[in-house]
Symmetry: C2
Subunit: 112 residues, 2 copies
């Protein structure tokens, strides 16, 4: 076991799937990413987040939320932040955001 996989409750709950390709160089990204991860943990309905980025700058982050309202609150907060503008213009060559309702979940040592 490790801390990659979020210990989410029984579905239903909500997920934000954020897929992104970083531009070269840091340019403040690591600092802001850390701050946003801290902020997410303080938001109502936050259930966890899973994040992987490879050595070529390709990344997928999935955050989990108890309700659609919790998820929307987070997205609206994030969208309004300067971080989003910098993400669009500086940090990401490309990105996609998908919001989804998790309907079923299972895994190793986690029968569905």
């Amino acid at each position: 076991m490790n801390n990659l996989i979020s210990n989410t409750p029984q579905p239903p709950y909500y997920a934000v799937i954020f897929t992104s390709q970083r531009t070269p160089g840091d340019r403040g990204y690591a600092y802001t990413a850390g701050r946003l991860a801290e902020l997410a943990r303080t938001m109502p309905g936050f259930l966890g987040a899973e994040s992987v980025r490879d050595e070529h700058g390709a990344g997928i982050t999935v955050s989990y939320w108890q309700s659609e309202a919790n998820m929307r609150h987070w997205l609206e907060q994030a969208e309004h932040a300067a971080a989003r503008q910098l993400g669009n213009s500086v940090w990401y060559e490309d990105f996609s955001v998908r919001v989804a309702r998790v309907e079923r979940a299972y895994g190793k040592n986690r029968p569905g």
Copy 2:
């Protein structure tokens, strides 16, 4: 632009979020992962897949499907394959599968 992000249609559609921590060593993993990726592309309703694994063996793969039936068909096929057994017993220290209905999507150069 690059080929990380799947060019999915307007929602709704379905997503399988597979988060995993690899065990050390290959032990046939790369070959089988490539075969399964090829198989997915031939399945009815396959819309695309996004996959990232970092240098520590942490990975997230999200595959997208037109309908719940298409997604279930893929999962049932995969579950029945020997690959799933090997994944559980040999390749993955830990994993989680979440199936979700994508309700909204947007991104860079992809207004939602």
